[in-house]
């Protein structure tokens, strides 16, 4: 016996959710290569351009059979890819413009054909191409478990759902079979060619797969989700890693997360707000996918804004501490073991000197007594190292780079912080005649 809630769920939510996940997964996987090849907008072009093929197939066969629609849309998609290439090559039109010309003319043709079809009282509208009708994919689940897995029930599975399941399997097989070829051709078509891989063929195959994604998905979820899923999960993953294999796995996770979360938000938020009907799931899923990109852009541990600014701040602090102990070291050279903080204020280019002093004290580089600072032994060694680098760089700049003596200090002030090897020592003193501390 299947409980009523579960039966409801299976009837109304199972297939839409499955379709959403399938679309997300297959588009998300293919999208990785489009994003890497800077061809993200191909999905946009193809998914708009299927319209005339759809209408033509519908008008010619006067049936709404999914197979016919699939063929029409597929033909349209391939024609679009071919035309874009043709306009780009023969017309020497800039790629973006070529794409724009072809897909907008195709879409306009589709809209016009739709209007003509509407005249013959044909019920077909362009809306389904744009936003899809995930919510309409319900079936009536039986009340007993043993009836659920019969041939009769399976026959009730909407064709869109089985098409999408097939697509997902196809995409995964495609990725597994051609993983190496796709990777090489995406990064370096020239290298691919020298290794006997037909880079052009791989590109064509990728376009065909993109078209297959767009065509198989439009009826269930609409083109807008296809575009979002081709780009957003891959883009979010790209912001989190530098390795393609990790990026592909991450993008799959992001895609599925967006599909589930978006679907749940679309169906349950309106209930909570007691709105009469649910929200558009395809739209919501793309919003969630976009939010994932935003989240990755801000919080990604490797390339996120927070991580970047934290790295920058910590670098700034390191530089400031090095400058501080450098200054204190120079003071010790003139025999001053204690330096008053007031004397540092003018020489340090930092806003919060106190914080830097505290950090340096925590690293036991300096000790503070009253209002003056003193280098510890560890601090002395670190100061000597910095000043040694500074003076060696000055020597290098004067001797090797022919830079005038009065200009070298500021340059060396920056170079001393670089984590590179120090320049070779030319003499015991720097160009100003000051001694280079021993290493």
């Amino acid at each position: 016996m299947i409980s009523e809630t579960l039966r409801q769920y299976i009837s109304f939510d199972l297939f839409p959710l499955t379709s959403a996940i399938c679309v997300a997964l297959s588009c998300g996987l293919i999208g990785n290569h489009l994003v890497l090849r800077k061809q993200s907008m191909m999905g946009d072009a193809i998914s708009h351009a299927v319209l005339p093929g759809l209408v033509a197939a519908f008008l010619l066969s006067s049936s709404r059979s999914p197979t016919v629609m699939f063929l029409g849309a597929g033909a349209s998609a391939l024609v679009t890819v071919g035309l874009i290439e043709l306009v780009k090559r023969l017309g020497r039109v800039e790629p973006g413009a070529a794409m724009g010309v072809v897909f907008s003319v195709m879409f306009a043709l589709g809209v016009l054909m739709l209007e003509q079809a509407a005249a013959d009282h044909v019920d077909l509208d362009a809306d389904c191409v744009l936003y899809g009708q995930l919510e309409t994919l319900f079936f009536f689940a039986p009340s007993e478990w043993n009836q659920l897995f019969t041939v009769d029930t399976l026959r009730q599975i909407p064709t869109q759902v089985s098409t999408l399941l097939a697509l997902t399997v196809l995409v995964i097989l495609f990725k597994l079979a051609l993983h190496k070829e796709l990777r090489i051709a995406s990064f370096d078509p020239g290298l691919a060619t020298t290794q006997g891989i037909h880079a052009g063929l791989i590109t064509v195959l990728l376009m065909v797969m993109t078209a297959a994604c767009a065509v198989a998905s439009f009826e269930a979820v609409g083109s807008i989700l296809v575009i979002a899923m081709l780009i957003c999960p891959a883009a979010a993953a790209r912001l989190c890693t530098d390795r393609l294999s990790t990026q592909i796995k991450l993008s799959a996770v992001f895609a599925v997360t967006a599909a589930i979360l978006g679907y749940l938000l679309a169906s349950f938020v309106p209930e909570m707000l007691s709105m009469p009907s649910s929200l558009n799931a395809a739209g919501m899923i793309s919003v969630v996918a976009g939010s994932l990109v935003a989240l990755a852009a801000v919080a990604s541990p490797s390339h996120g804004l927070i991580a970047k600014s934290r790295r920058q701040r910590s670098l700034q602090r390191t530089v400031a501490i090095e400058d501080l102990i450098g200054l204190l070291y120079r003071a010790t050279e003139t025999g001053q073991s204690q330096t008053p903080i007031a004397a540092l204020a003018g020489a340090m280019h930092t806003k919060d000197l106190n914080q830097i002093i505290q950090s340096a004290a925590r690293q036991t580089l300096i000790t503070q007594t009253n209002d003056s600072l003193k280098l510890t032994d560890q601090g002395l060694a670190a100061g000597a190292k910095i000043i040694r680098r500074h003076r060696l760089w000055e020597g290098y700049l004067v001797d090797q780079a022919n830079i005038r003596l009065d200009n070298v200090h500021d340059l060396a002030e920056q170079l001393e912080h670089l984590p590179t090897n120090e320049p070779k020592a030319q003499s015991q003193t720097d160009p100003h005649g000051r001694p280079v501390p021993p290493a």
């Binding site: 994003v35 946009d44 306009v87 724009g100 907008s104 306009a108």
Partner: protein, 431 residues
Amino acid sequence: MNLTLAQSLTQTHDEMPSLREIIDTVTLQSGFNTNAVIVAASLLGIAAGIIGAFALLRKRSLTADALSHATLPGITSAFLIASPLGFNARSLPILLLGATLSGILGVLCIHLILTHTRLREDAAIGIVLSVFFGVGVVLLSVIQSTATSSAAGLNHFIYGQTAAMLTHDAILMGTIALIATVIAILAMKEITIVCFNESFARVTGINSSLIDALILALIVLVTVSGLQAVGLILIVAMLIIPPAAARFWTDRVRMLIILSASIGALSGFAGASMSALLPRKPAGAVIVLSAGVIFILSMLLAPKRGVIAQLIRHSKLKLQIAIDHTLESKYEYPEQHNHTKPWLRFLLRALGFTTSLTASSALTESGLARGRRVRRNHMLWEQYLISCADIAPSHVDWSVDQVEHILDDDLITRLENEIRASGQDILEIQS
């Protein structure tokens, strides 16, 4: 005056229009509303043509696509916010204000993604396009689900419909397009400089990021003004197709802008009047298809960059090469029997290079002269490639008529001397 075009259409046109109606519409004599829509569509075409040309030169064509999709959440939020506040939520200015704001927000998002992440422009455009449109679709479903207000009419912004346009809507659209045109013309010099040479622009004191922002702002204006008539999916076509078509005809930026504006105006005019005359012809689609036809014709027929012209040039060159090769081998080995194709034999005879149609035909005076010249060029090139191969442009055609035009005199004398010194036939190289 308040009669919409849709009503007038259903009343008058159920079949093909008469010649009289066509002439009336095209010469703007068929009622004020129709005229206003046609004039506004033409103005929109001009504005989109000019601004699209800048977008093309700046390689920003697809940014316009993202931007137009990004207007949808603005339209729907304006509708959602305006209704409870007691405004007429259908009033065009309110909806267009919303569209403008979210369009600008979309542009800002693209800019932020480009400056703060490692993602490229195509991904940034795609993300903004799909996510903003997704927000718009969700908000549309919110509007549809709240029983009090119907979303009817908002759909027009997606596909465009001139049929439902009122006269003052058309006037608003025309005015925005006119403003965009005037701004574009006033800033034309600066925009052109930035498009062609950014560093030169900086040197002359032009702020190139400001000009970029201006171009984007103008794209927003055009998009917003065309939303109702053309729809947000197809408006991008009005920005992309006219300049891309104009590009086939000219290499000069002033001419490009004039042509692009004319093509835009023509397609706007043709689309709007056809839509007014014929039943069930949505203006947006017809405008875009008219522009598309002009694009195809330009791509095929343009004198220099056109496909047919390229084809003719290419076959001419191939023919010339075939003639040169035959004459060269006949000149070099007169006694050798060579297998020249019949059509080529005929051509050689017709041009007066050979004395008969047979394969072993002797060369005439002019045939000998041409053969000798080709042989000489060939040898000079060979010598040049051997002795100066480092600087030899690898893709220069072997059959270039006069090597003298490519190599300078000193070099040719040197090459000729080298050939003489190598003991080859001196007579041959004396031209």
